[in-house]
């Protein structure tokens, strides 16, 4: 079954003279348990696709179907947010500076309607490799990698099926990136998760994903398998250039 089905998606900001067409006619689908990458340079529309799915983009047209349910407009049900969660690049900006880890996770669990909150906070921290000693810390008392673990724990609170990951390791050192990517790999196995991962780093997408879409100026120029990527078999000139630039670097 397709977990995510995107068809002829257009997303735009503003109107008339000021209209920005951020995504144009994007189509792809992601199977259950699959990891799908979105790559392309900054401004090419990668984040906007994730935002349209989660109801954070103001205006869009086309088709977005998640686990068989076709979405409209910006409204998303509580069930949707239980099943689909997003993790952002900058965990510092996405965590409230005056809320402790315990508050962040506790409130999220409460919103999802759980009762056994205490036990679940402990379990979540354990699942993302943060022991109990981090439970009452505030964001400024955590390193970048630890903050990203908290953001992942929060995303996992509702026991989602799908994680939308927007450059989740781009702000981290490579050593910390390795730890977070390993964590995401293990969580996917344990929880049978489906990932969509945005990254500007082809090696990261190659490591995490099965297939990927290459974006340029709001359009998907190519959908390819990671096997093809590894063999340098991009067919569109832009993907070839992107591949060349990242191999050389």
């Amino acid at each position: 079954m397709s977990m995510i089905e995107i068809g002829n998606l257009d997303v735009w900001f503003g109107d008339g003279h000021d209209r920005v067409d951020a995504v144009r006619q994007a189509s792809f689908s992601v199977a259950e348990g699959e990891s799908f990458g979105l790559v392309g340079e900054s401004g090419s529309g990668k984040s906007t696709i994730l935002r349209a799915i989660t109801g954070l983009a103001p205006t869009w047209s086309g088709q977005i179907t998640i686990e068989g349910e076709t979405l409209t407009g910006k409204a998303r049900t509580r069930k949707f947010y239980k099943n689909v969660q997003m993790v952002f690049q900058d965990p510092y900006a996405s965590l409230h500076p005056r809320h402790s880890v315990d508050q962040v996770l506790g409130e999220t669990l409460h919103l999802h309607g759980f009762k056994d909150i205490d036990a679940r906070v402990v379990k979540l921290l354990d699942d993302v490799g943060l022991g109990g000693r981090f439970r009452f810390r505030y964001p400024h008392q955590l390193s970048g990698g630890q903050r990203q673990r908290v953001a992942i724990a929060r995303a996992l609170a509702g026991e989602p099926d799908i994680l939308l990951l927007d450059e989740p390791t781009s702000a981290l050192d490579v050593s910390v990136q390795a730890e977070i990517l390993n964590l995401l790999t293990d969580l996917r196995d344990e929880r049978k998760l489906t990932y969509v991962m945005v990254s500007h780093d082809l090696a990261v997408v190659g490591h995490m994903c099965d297939r990927l879409a290459v974006m340029k100026d709001g359009e998907i120029v190519e959908v390819m398998s990671v096997d093809a990527l590894r063999k340098m078999e991009a067919s569109h000139p832009y993907s070839q250039a992107l591949l060349k630039a990242s191999i050389a670097a």
Partner: protein, 284 residues
């Protein structure tokens, strides 16, 4: 010939928990070469670069046996003398051009101002030189860029403008602190190529600070690897992938590679000994 000699450099910050040593006994020399400084965030790369130019803000303290620029010890220089060094002999390019350019002045006004500061000449001459500088950093429509405000140019363009401005006084040394980290890979390459050509043409020394091992390995001649304020290893840039220090090896192995698929990435196991061992000398 060494243009710059740094011996036993320390950068210290008094904190509530006592003195924090951000840079601990770093020594190196710089000739007409591209010297890379790599390491994780917080390892002291930026503080090393800034300390050379005495750009560490109080309460930070810089100590060294000496920091010699062509034989003259910069530690003996007064602040006005240092300003002259910063304006004319050593230039620094930072990560984000948007914060280094004045947002309310056009690009042209800023470059011309920089040029007039260093050259006793007419406005018309300054304008012609500014356009030539923009062309030198591969900006195709310099006339239009001259009229633009910083927010109207892309990141890659902004960084090229910064490099143009830094090169106006014809400095002997350029310190580039993560100059391309905010740019896309494709643009990154263009900016590096431009910087490279200029450094070669003018026989400059370059200190290239980056957290990106692959980039430094490809772009520099020699590399200092920093950990917790110390230099743990020095090597030729093209041999970085054969580095022997377990920290350097750990960083290299933690990178995902398209040509070597694996389920889990290697995780760096830190050894307290790495930060205790004395700094390795980076003399050429």
């Amino acid at each position: 010939m060494n243009m710059l000699e740094v011996e036993n450099l320390w950068v210290k910050f008094p904190t509530r928990q006592g003195i924090f040593d951000a840079v601990r006994g770093v020594s190196f020399t710089l000739g007409k070469e591209r010297l890379g400084i790599v390491g994780e965030s917080g390892s002291g790369k930026s503080m090393t670069g800034r300390a050379i130019l005495q750009l560490i803000r109080p309460p930070g303290i810089v100590e060294a046996d000496y920091i010699k620029l062509e034989g003259q010890n910069l530690l003996d220089f007064s602040e006005p003398q240092m300003r002259e060094v910063r304006g004319q002999r050593i230039s620094m390019v930072m990560q984000d051009p948007k914060f280094s350019l004045n947002p309310v002045m056009t690009v042209g006004e800023q470059i011309m101002e920089a040029y007039l500061l260093h050259n006793n000449t007419s406005k018309a001459q300054a304008r012609a030189k500014s356009i030539a500088m923009l062309e030198a950093v591969s900006i195709r429509d310099p006339e239009r860029v001259m009229r633009a405000y910083p927010h109207e140019v892309s990141g890659g363009m902004g960084q090229r403008i910064m490099i143009a401005m830094m090169l106006i006084p014809d400095p002997q040394i350029l310190i580039a602190d993560e100059p391309t980290s905010a740019l896309d890979v494709s643009v990154q390459r263009q900016v590096l190529d431009i910087m490279d050509a200029l450094v070669k043409e003018r026989g400059m020394g370059l200190i290239f600070i980056s957290h990106d091992l692959n980039l430094v390995s490809e772009f520099c001649d020699r590399v200092l690897i920093m950990y917790a304020g110390r230099v743990v290893e020095v090597c030729d840039a093209d041999k970085l992938h054969e580095a022997s220090h377990p920290y350097t090896r750990g960083l290299l192995n933690s990178l995902p590679r398209l040509d070597q698929p694996r389920k889990h990435l290697e995780v760096l196991q830190r050894d307290p000994k790495w930060s205790e061992a004395p700094s390795v000398g980076g003399h050429s």
